[in-house]
Amino acid sequence: MATARKEKQEQQKEFDPKIIAFLCNWCSYAAADLAGSSRLQYPSNIRTIRIPCTGRLNPLLVIKALNKGADGILVSGCHPGDCHYIDGNYYARRRFTMLKDLLEFSGVEPERLNFTWCSAAEGRRFAEIVRKVVDRVESVGPWQGFLSEPDVVAEKEAGEIEDGEFL
């Protein structure tokens, strides 16, 4: 699907990334609201999914979002120490550190994986984060899935035939 979408975007010529943002209800979602009530403008590329706490976010959901074709991910919670649920974001931090590391190791561009903290008072920071994330994702272009282009794979799919005068 990711590839199909990418083709369409190529036809469109203009890359309009889609970024899934997981925001915790108490800080970052509130910051996004504050950006709104302060009328700060930012690109419309983000699609927010509200979660109670970054601790709620199972890393598999981020993989799922990329699997479904998100060009980039933003996860933002309360600053460490500020968690509404005492320490949820501390646990989340480890999970995301490992997730980000794994995905980058496997070839996902770091620019697509954006984890940060944003407090309820930081409306301006939120708008800046979104701008930054959109820039970052744009800089690496459309997401084409976890694997290389199908033709690269097909070439080597069956494995390499060992040469030799067997016959």
């Binding site: 501390y90 480890r94 794994l102 995905l103 496997s106 070839g107 690269v152």
Partner: protein
């Protein structure tokens, strides 16, 4: 020094007899030789006379810890490679099995398993919890000497090269999930793969999905994977997938000084935190 297979085999047979004499065990879980195949296979010994069936060879790849949970209310004896002993420590830390129900015969100075690349970078050559041991312990100096200059799997590749590597490797995946089934710390009764409500992993056999399977599985592994290499050894397609879990294994060690299964008292990686944990690559 790593011990020889024959020496370990000889000692195992002696100690097994001792274990039978000293404990009222349901069975002694170890390795034996396949009657027809000549291959090393898991055996469940019940009688002291069977002690001589025990062997240890370079194809003793299966993780015996995997079988213990099935019989956990009973007292079981088990021959444990160092990696197996870590899996056991991990089980105990998660309350999956009681230490009191285990008689552990640990293999010191494990000589490793043929073809298992995890053994080349193994950082635990003596078992972490034991009741009996066979073989000489390997000293820390020896271990460090052996590890010197060892490169971890795919460490030298660029992310893009790895992406290509995985694209190639997973194109062969037949979704048998032997990697998961062979893994000592994958012990869920119902794997997320088999859930369709919600459907974490969609059905279909494209390489893309196999990649996602492995990414998701790897995210269940940090703080659990003991880097035994059983996943790769089990793969009938020779897919090199261990690099993912191994990478996080080493990263958890670097970032959090965390090694799974080092002690039965340890918390899991993801159920613990430090306020000062680093935030590599987080947006500032």
């Amino acid at each position: 020094m790593a011990n020889s297979y024959n020496e370990i085999t000889r000692e195992l047979q002696e100690i097994a007899a001792e274990v039978f004499a000293e404990h009222d065990i349901k069975h002694l879980l170890g390795f034996g030789r396949g009657e027809f195949s000549g291959l090393t296979e898991p055996v469940f010994l019940k009688k002291p006379e069977e002690a001589e069936r025990l062997i240890f060879q370079d194809d003793a790849a299966p993780m015996l810890s995997k079988y213990l949970l099935k019989y956990k209310p009973d007292l079981q004896a088990v021959v444990a490679k160092p990696c197996d002993s870590r899996a056991l420590a991990y089980y105990i830390s998660e309350g999956k099995i009681s230490r009191d129900n285990l008689v552990i015969i640990g293999i010191n100075g494990c000589p490793g398993i043929a073809g298992n690349t995890a053994c080349d970078e193994c950082d635990t050559r003596n078992p972490v919890i034991v009741d009996y041991t066979v073989g000489e312990e390997m000293s820390q100096e020896e271990l460090e000497a052996e590890l010197e200059g060892v490169k971890y799997l795919l460490e030298d590749m660029s992310p893009a090269e790895r992406k290509e590597h995985y694209s190639r490797e997973f194109s062969r995946c037949t979704q048998c999930y032997a990697c998961r089934d062979a893994c000592p710390v994958c012990y869920c009764d119902h794997c997320y793969v088999e859930s369709n409500q919600p459907e974490w992993l969609e059905e279909g056999s494209s390489a893309d999905k196999d990649m996602i399977f492995h990414l998701m599985r790897t995210m269940h592994m940090p703080g659990r994977c003991v880097n035994c290499g059983a996943c790769e050894m089990a793969c009938p397609e020779g897919i090199e997938m261990r690099s993912m879990t191994t990478h996080l294994y080493h990263r958890a060690k670097e970032l959090y000084n965390y090694r799974p299964g080092i002690s039965p008292e340890q918390s899991t990686l993801f159920s613990d935190f430090d306020k000062e944990d680093s935030e590599p690559g987080f947006l500032q």
